[in-house]
Amino acid sequence: MDVKKKHEIEAALYKENQQISSGTLKEDNPLDSSENFRIFCEACRRGDLKVCQEMISTGVNINARDRFDYTPLILASLCGHYEVIRLLLENGALCERDTFQGERCLYNALNDRIRNLLLSYDYQKSTNPLQPLAAHITSLLGRDNPKTTDITIEAYGETFHLHKFLLAARSPYFARKLSSAPNTTSWKLPSSIPAASLAVALQYLYFMEVSLRRVTVGLGQEEEAIVLDGIHKISRQLEIPQLFECVTEVSDRRLLRQRRSEELDRGRDQVAAWFRDNILKNKMVVDTEKVKNVQWDRDNSIFADILLRADDDEEEDEPNDSNASPGPSESSTPPVRNTLGPLNGIPIGPMRSRSPSRHRQRRKSTLYPAHKAMLLRSEYFLTMFNSPFKEAHDTPHLHIVTVDCSPAVLETILTFMYTEKTDFGLDIAIDVLFAADQYFIEKLKQRAAIIISTLGNGSTSAVESENPRGEIDIDGDEAVDIYEILRAGWDTQVQRLEEFAARYIAYRLEQYVDEADFAELVKESARRVKARQETDTVELVDDIRYYLSERFRLRFEDSGLEELMDENAEVLANAAEDLSINEGSMHTKEDVQEFVPDIDAQIAAGAIRTLDGEIAGDEFAQDAINYQILLGKIDRLLENLDLDA
């Protein structure tokens, strides 16, 4: 890798400082001395994924610097926390070549793996996290099928089909105009403004990156002046003062990017505000039975063209209400789930407390007005509105489409589709995951997976660095039902969750290995493999073994006692064999003890017990023995299950 020379970086830094002080450039890394940021930096230093995720969710500036001029990304890469770095990068942390901080970050990277990760996220290649949203909205401009537009603007023979809600959200002028006359279907352009100018303004409203050069290419000077003038006028009329600024050319890549990202943020915030003020405020909570009576006119004040319905979870005592209503009824689903086989005995929260705030007799449904245009981001809705089924037909009143999830989840989904925001709690994370999977909202699915695997990790860093011996979390308040997560990962095909679960289990294997459910899980994993016929290993077991070795090897390496480990391993292998033959008899444990080399340490340390409860020589010996015992247990488990591995 080529690293910039010192003088080059200094020159770049000087130039940057000048630009910042002269106000042309916004500082990428402003000083942040808030408490939250301090916590954030600390977490990056320690590699605490969970705190990092939480801090990012609270909205700290991920690219700020602390008083020592460190950015979180530099800290994390300096300290070598790969997962944290990935999280930061995924959330928009900048590492750009040819800038001072960027080069510094690369230079400080602990190893090549991290450096390559940083390089692969080089800003030039990555895109703004809001880009997918912007791209979708831009695509609406030219989309014919299905028809989602509700207003047309004509200008000199050109017709633009547009969306009222977007116009209202983006332009204060339209917001006023449309709120006074919501059922307008056309708008006349003032004759003094050329069509090209209007097109630019619309592109701007639809989140497109506008550039003057693209508009005026091939035009003469006079025409160009007319178009510019038109842009000026229309930006005043529509009250979008930033338009003109956006149109002007900027050659600096960084400035351009900054401006673009500001624009995207502004646009998103506008849409988000509109979403909050109109859609969320217009949601309706009605009795499930009465849903059918809800009728919304097509011409409504928030221009919605569809109603989405989500039903509250059923009350336990609610009778199965047969098939009378085709929508949300869960007739075939027994309402109680804790009677089911494989889940028995797993400590999860009581079912009924899931919606504690709404305790009532009648089942309620929540209706959200929405716009097909935005729902199209999901392939499910795209197909639905393109199909010849009932939902795609035009009716005087809006269709009510059931979305198969709880209102909270539906709200999360809508929020994501309208604003690209994904902050939801762990409590609904799995539901969101499933819903996103069901409705093909890939990005949301990934976000859900990330949230589960970071927040759900409890204390990942603690697991890695402080709990090599798999000490059981004594507070007993395990936040995670790892079986559920793993199954969800399988069901929704999220690799990340599978890995997460395997690691999670590996670091607490003592806790799980003897459970019947665990055996069941291994069996399931084996079945999955069989169906695929790719390999003849059990994926889950392989993963667990891998993380297990990681868990212990880390210790041995840290202590520089690898040789000891190897030595022990050989000896202990025999021990483990014996162990498996003799089904953990006391006799074996004594054997093990005999093999432990450092007798002095044993005496000195007094009683250090292995997992079997016997006394081991020292901590390392104990680790080694534990490792072998756990491996042995897995082998036995596989044998019992009659599986190959």
Binding site: I348, S387, F389, D404, V480, D481
Partner: protein, 828 residues
């Protein structure tokens, strides 16, 4: 918002997601009921959301496999009951019978039955597609998750395959074992046949059936060449078409002429292209085109070209359109257009040879023809006449060739789309007959043609026309192989034109030279240009001398004005100017009269002052003179009686002769011998000059005794006092001053000289090569020599050998002793 909540729990998924609680059968009942609705086109009442959710649940509960199978089974049942029977209902006995090749049905009945069948099938296919895409929408989750996971084909693809298996590959009826697909092929082919026969068919209908075949594959791999269309239909289509066109071509060749055949063939090709576009698949276009081309053209082109009404007929009758067609057809199957080229070349050579023969015949026939009537005429004019005839033949030859060239250029441009390879072929053919060994006179003829045009032809023509004429000459020149021979003739002819002032325009002459320069290179025109230069220098000399004489002061009323041309002896073909039989050294020195002699010496002196060391040789035979003559008052035949003045334009010799009579009393005479003795003019020239002065009726300034045509040494000459010309100016032509075709003797002469100069060229080339290479094998030397000389002429190998021998004798080269192949070494 999250951080504030403190410790959170991940809740397990709610409701349906957990557990094996999907009642599959019940769900399937709902789904299949909905599918039936879809198939019966009642979908608009169905809720997509509900169906999708049902299918989603099933797949999530790992029942995707079961669902997939059930859907497949459902489709299978539907197709093999409902759809198949509907299709079978379409088979009229009529349709079935006719596909078995039984006659008895009219085309119209067949067409109607066929269309009904196609329509039904198309309808079934479209319905199937629509339904399946709806099903696929509903089962999207299954396609995405289950099918991808276990690597199954998507349900849509599977359903399409079912259509293939259950409909297309099913039997047409219980008793008939033929499959629907075969029937479909036959029906489509039948319809196409009807269209070929001129009926109107429903193209869209067939096209949609073709689309169906295109979107189905024979195997699971879905490779392009495994489409049902390719596997089943296209194959048959090509075979049938091949058969059809074979018969048609046979029939046509027998019954119509080549032009009609060509028209028909191009129409067929166009039709098939059009058919592929509108009725079948574009991908078939190249294939069917090849079939048609093979059958109608490739296998028939030879017969076609050779037909009585073939290429030859078309050329002779200027059937440009037909030639264009035949070119087009030939070009389709053969990049080099072999057949057409062959025919064209043959025709050119034939026609060229005809022209050659005509020219030869013309030049030989004439001497014989005027023989009977030549009774009173002398032999000289007779020969003259024949020479004139030959010249006319030469010019006619050139014009014929040019006409031929024009014709073929026209054909080439209009009918052969300016095809490059044909152009070379045409050029080659022209070169062939122009250089044909049986016709050695082309160089001379071309030069003569130019001469003719320079002297007369271009009079009164615009610049453009002149240019065209020159270009034509150049074109012909391009074909000529022996450029040196041409140069020799051209020089000779040019020389005459310049000296005799016969050229219409000097500009045009120069233009011609520059054209030749472009065409043949600098070397070729070097000497020609030098000739022009001499002419200009001479003009300057003349005027310079005139001034010089005026400057001398004594204005002599009897002064003779002198116009002079000083010619460099190397550049001018002087030998061809003197009468041939004199040796060069013995260039005759005639005796000039005193007046002339003085001025001659004056000029020599003047010239020597300007250019010392140069020797001037006077060529009296080339000059001419203007004399004012006064004829005394003598009674005329018409009775007038007055003195007459004439300006006589005579050759220099003629002037000398006439001056003799100045000093003679009117009734005195001089004999031939006396004249000869006094003037020392070569007898030959003298004889000719006397002939023109005394024999030619219009310029009979002398009277000869006896009055015969021939001049004999004993003849006596008197001054003809009674001469009376119609004009004041009288030009006394000397016999054979113009450029004429050479007589055979002259030809031999020219050829000999040419061969000599060729000899020098060859020697020079050989020496150049050897000087460079020092040692070289014989074969190589010959080869290189040929290469070097190609631009000038094509030497014969024996000649080269001779030259080499001669060089060895003169010790420029030596043979290398003991070399394996004959080799030479250069001796410095």
């Amino acid at each position: 918002m999250i951080a504030g909540r403190g410790r959170q729990r991940i809740r397990p998924p709610r409701r349906s997601v957990a557990g094996d609680d999907v009642d599959f059968e019940q769900t399937w009942t709902k789904i299949s009921a909905a599918f039936t609705e879809i198939h019966t086109k009642n979908a608009s009442r169905l809720s997509y959301e509900e169906l999708y959710r049902l299918a989603y649940r099933v797949v999530l509960k790992k029942k995707g496999d079961e669902l997939y199978k059930r859907v497949r089974q459902f489709e299978h049942n539907w197709l093999s009951t409902e759809v198949r029977s509907a299709i079978q209902a379409l088979f009229s006995p009529n349709l079935l019978a006719n596909t078995q090749g039984l006659g008895g049905t009219t085309a119209n009945e067949r067409r109607v039955a066929g269309e009904r069948f196609l329509k039904g099938l198309k309808q079934a296919w479209t319905d199937h597609q629509v339904c399946m895409s709806m099903l696929a929408d509903v089962l999207m989750y299954m396609d995405r998750v289950y099918c991808q996971d276990v690597r199954r084909l998507s349900i849509y693809t599977t359903a399409m395959l079912l259509f293939r298996d259950d409909i297309l590959n099913s039997n047409t009826s219980e008793i008939d074992s033929r499959v629907v697909l075969a029937l479909l092929n036959t029906v489509i082919l039948d319809q196409i046949q009807m269209e070929r026969d001129g009926d109107v068919i429903d193209k869209h209908l067939i096209k949609s059936c073709v689309y169906m075949l295109e979107s189905l594959y024979d195997d699971e791999m879905e490779s392009e060449d495994q489409r049902l269309y390719n596997v089943s239909f296209e194959h048959e289509f090509l075979a049938t078409s091949s058969e059809f066109y074979r018969h048609e071509s046979e029939f046509l060749l027998r019954d119509s002429d080549a032009g009609a055949y060509c028209k028909h063939a191009s129409r067929r090709i166009y039709e098939e292209d059009e058919r592929c576009r509108s009725t079948l698949a574009e991908s078939t276009m190249p294939k069917i085109r090849k079939v048609v081309e093979d059958e109608l053209i490739k296998n028939r082109i030879h017969e076609l070209v050779e037909m009585e009404s073939g290429v030859r007929f078309m050329i002779d009758n200027d059937r440009l359109d037909e030639l264009n067609l035949i070119y087009d057809l030939n070009a389709r199957v053969d990049d080099r257009k072999t057949e057409l080229t062959r025919a064209i070349q043959k025709r050119i050579v034939d026609m060229g040879t005809d022209i050659n023969n005509a020219a030869i015949a013309a030049s030989q026939a004439t001497p014989a023809a005027p023989a009977p009537e030549a009774g009173d005429k002398a032999k000289g004019p007779n020969q003259e006449k024949s020479l004139n005839q030959q010249t006319v033949a030469a010019i006619k030859w050139v014009e014929d060739v040019l006409q031929l060239k024009d014709k073929f250029d026209h054909i080439w441009k209009d009918s052969f789309q300016s095809d490059h390879s044909l152009q070379t072929a045409v050029t080659r053919s022209f070169a062939d007959f122009i250089n044909s060994p049986t016709f050695p006179r082309s160089s001379e003829y071309i030069s003569l043609f130019i001469d003719e045009n320079m002297k007369k032809g271009i009079k009164g023509k615009t610049e453009m026309e002149v240019d065209a004429v020159l270009d034509k000459a150049i074109i012909l020149l391009r074909y000529v192989q022996d450029k040196d021979l041409f140069e020799r003739y051209y020089k000779k002819h040019l020389c005459r034109r310049l000296l005799m002032n016969k050229s219409v325009s000097n500009e045009v002459e120069k233009q011609m030279i520059s054209k030749m320069k472009i065409e043949l290179g600098n070397n070729f025109t070097l000497k020609l240009e030098a000739m022009f230069k001499d002419m200009t220098i001479s003009e300057e000399l003349t005027s310079g001398f005139k001034k010089h004489v005026e400057g001398l002061g004594d204005k002599d009323p009897k002064r003779i004005e002198l116009g002079i041309n000083v010619l460099t002896s190397m550049t001018w073909p002087l030998e061809s100017m003197g009468s041939g039989d004199d040796d060069e050294n013995k260039r005759p020195k005639c005796n000039f009269p005193m007046a002339l002699d003085r001025i001659k010496r004056g000029f020599e002196k003047y010239y020597n002052e300007k250019h010392s060391g140069r020797q001037l040789t006077w060529l009296a035979n080339m000059g001419s003179a203007d004399i004012k003559a006064v004829f005394p008052k003598v009674a005329q035949k018409d009775g007038s009686f007055k003195e007459r003045r004439h300006d006589l334009n005579v050759s220099t010799y003629g002037m000398i002769i006439l001056l003799l009579f100045n000093e003679l009393p009117a009734d005195q005479y001089m004999t031939f011998e006396e004249i000869h003795a006094q003037t020392n003019i070569p007898r030959n020239d003298l004889m000719r000059n006397l002939q023109s002065l005394a024999v030619a009726p219009k310029t009979r300034i002398l009277i000869k005794e006896p009055m015969t045509k021939d001049v004999k040494s004993t003849d006596k000459f008197y001054f003809n006092e009674g001469f009376n010309g119609k004009f004041v100016k009288i030009r006394v032509g000397v016999v054979s001053t113009g450029n004429k075709v050479e007589s055979d003797r002259e030809r031999r002469e020219t050829e000999k000289k040419n061969d000599d100069s060729r000899g020098f060229c060859i020697e020079a080339a050989v020496v150049r090569i050897m000087k460079q290479r020092k040692e070289l094998a014989h074969q190589q030397l010959v080869l290189e020599t040929l290469n070097q000389l190609a631009a000038q002429f094509k030497p014969e190998v024996t000649m080269i050998k001779k030259r080499i021998e001669s060089l060895i004798e003169r010790e420029y080269l030596e043979r290398i002793e003991g070399a394996r192949v004959d080799s030479y070494r250069y001796l410095a």
